[in-house]
């Protein structure tokens, strides 16, 4: 099927609005994701308790909770289309890149909503030293973009396979590893008052690389 | 010293067996390709 659909920012915006609207109608995905994130957080807090100034464990746990929430919920962006058979229709009106970018922005928005709930809850439950707001939010933002970008690409690939959630997580993890390590290291440094420049640079470069390669690869995603 | 020689002997033996196995694979490949 030729991908000669619209390639413009308008198409991306339209796809984003459509995603938001269909998600908002049922809020099924969002509810499930929030429930999952809160559950994971509860398990962690319940088993470990307040961590005071164990900044290394705190940083790791925060990102593990976010990673798990992303892996559990972001795989569905494309699966929904495949199962509802709406993908063919979409591809008639928009290019693969526009579709993917629209979904990427939606995934990012989804993650941000998730984080607005999860991160404050984490800080309240787990304790921890005061934040260096700038570096902390910067790392969170970069990490979220990286998570969204990677999950969109992998999600699109997985939606055409027989595997689903487990395969999505297993396949995403090696790609996300550098990002996870940099984010954890940076978050810990931020709590200890150390500079986070190196981690931010790595995260930024990583995110840019994933976005760039995604843009090149989206066109190859669907060719039947 | 002799312990070393034993290990070396084992290594050479393993390599030799692997080599023979691969040669046999080659022969079988040639057969498959001819058919």
């Amino acid at each position: 099927m030729p991908s000669n659909g619209s390639n413009s920012a308008a198409a991306v915006w339209a796809i984003l609005r459509k995603e938001c609207r269909s998600e908002w109608r049922t809020r099924y995905g969002l509810n499930a994701a929030l429930l999952f994130a809160v559950t994971t957080l509860t398990v962690v807090s319940f088993s470990v308790g307040r961590l005071g100034n164990r900044t290394d464990i705190l940083a790791a746990l925060l990102w593990i909770v976010l990673l798990f929430a992303a892996l559990a919920s972001l795989s569905h962006a494309f699966v929904r289309e495949v199962e509802g058979h709406t993908l063919t229709l979409l591809r008639l009106v928009a290019s693969p890149t526009s579709i993917a970018l629209g979904k990427l922005l939606f995934n990012l928005l989804f993650l941000l909503v998730l984080e607005v709930v999860t991160v404050p809850l984490f800080l309240m439950l787990m304790g921890g030293p005061p934040l260096s707001w700038g570096p902390f939010l910067g790392l969170l933002a970069l990490g979220s973009v990286a998570l969204a970008a990677s999950s969109t690409l992998v999600g699109a690939v997985i939606s055409q396979t027989r595997g689903r959630g487990a395969l999505f997580a297993g396949v995403s993890f090696p790609l996300l590893l550098p990002m996870l390590a940099a984010a954890v290291s940076g978050t810990r440094a931020q709590w200890q008052g150390d500079p986070v420049g190196a981690e931010v640079r790595i995260l930024a470069a990583y995110t840019a690389a994933v976005l760039a390669v995604s843009l090149l690869l989206y066109d190859h995603l669907w060719e039947d | 010293m002799s312990g070393n020689l034993v290990v070396m002997g084992v290594a050479l033996l393993v390599w030799g067996l692997l080599f023979l196995f691969l040669v046999r694979l080659e022969r079988r490949m040639k057969e498959l390709e001819k058919r």
Binding site: D56, S150, L153, V154, V157, Q160, T161, R162, G163, L167, G170, V171, F173, P174, L175, L176, L177, P178, M179, A181, A182, S185, R188, A198, E199, I202, A205, Y206, A209, V210, A212, V213, S214, L216, L217, H220, L221, E223, D224 | G3, N4, L5, V7, M8, A11, L12, W15, G16, F19, L22, V23, L25, E26, M29, L32, E33, R35
Partner: protein, 222 residues
């Protein structure tokens, strides 16, 4: 045929040289010799990965399924060598430092190569359709190619944070006896030759299988 005999002799000679000619590293004593297996394995792992990823890119550019064969076969072989490197490294670590696994930078890197291989091969087995499988796994391979180099920058940080006092000194580059490096280099060449041989064998098998499949679906006699 002559190449195979040459390979046989080459590796055998390297093994003998490693045990009878090259000296021991003072710190490592007898365990020095694991190096002659561990180091080439790790290097071939990376070579195989590079080969696989190169052919993934070529497949996406040219849509020739032979590139997909190369990508898939190189990944399978790379996984084998990676397991060899990880296991030999782990046993060496146990002998030297008392722990099978330490998440030091080298161990971490090998482990994540293992994950990449595993993810790639798992992805391949879950896709139906030859062209689709080739295309999707090639996409993943290219994405991995972009993200894996970041591990090089990030891995030392993980280690430094977990082990502020390193358990071992990264082997000083200054003092290794050139004879050891020579044997190690010879083994690298030998292992690469072995990889090339295994690759060609597996590729021929894949080609035969595909020809059989085509013949069956087009209904011709074989």
């Amino acid at each position: 045929m002559i190449w195979r005999v040459l390979l046989l002799v080459w590796i055998a000679a390297a093994i003998v040289a490693g045990f009878a000619w090259a000296p021991l590293v003072p710190v490592l004593q007898e365990t020095t010799r694991v190096f002659y297996f561990h180091f080439p394995s790790a290097l071939v792992t990376v070579i195989a990965l590079a080969w696989s990823m190169l052919h993934s890119v070529l497949y996406l550019a040219r849509r020739d399924l032979r590139h997909d064969d190369h990508a898939a076969v190189a990944a399978e072989l790379g996984l084998l060598f990676c397991i060899g490197a990880a296991v030999s490294g782990s046993m060496w670590a146990k002998a030297m430092w008392g722990a099978y696994w330490n998440w030091d930078p080298r161990e971490t890197s090998i482990f994540f190569l293992l994950l990449i291989y595993g993810a790639y091969l798992a992805l391949r087995t879950s896709v139906e359709g030859v062209e689709r499988r080739a295309r999707l796994s090639a996409i993943y391979s290219v994405a991995a190619f972009v993200t894996v180099p970041f591990l090089i920058f990030v891995v030392p940080r993980i280690y430094d944070s977990l082990h502020p006092d390193p358990l071992f000194n990264q082997r000083g580059k200054a003092d290794i006896d050139p004879r050891i490096m020579l044997v190690a280099f010879a083994m690298v060449v030998g292992f690469t030759g072995l990889f090339a041989w295994l690759l060609s064998l597996r590729l021929r098998l894949a080609r035969v299988e595909r020809r059989r499949l085509e013949a069956r679906t087009t209904g011709s006699d074989l």
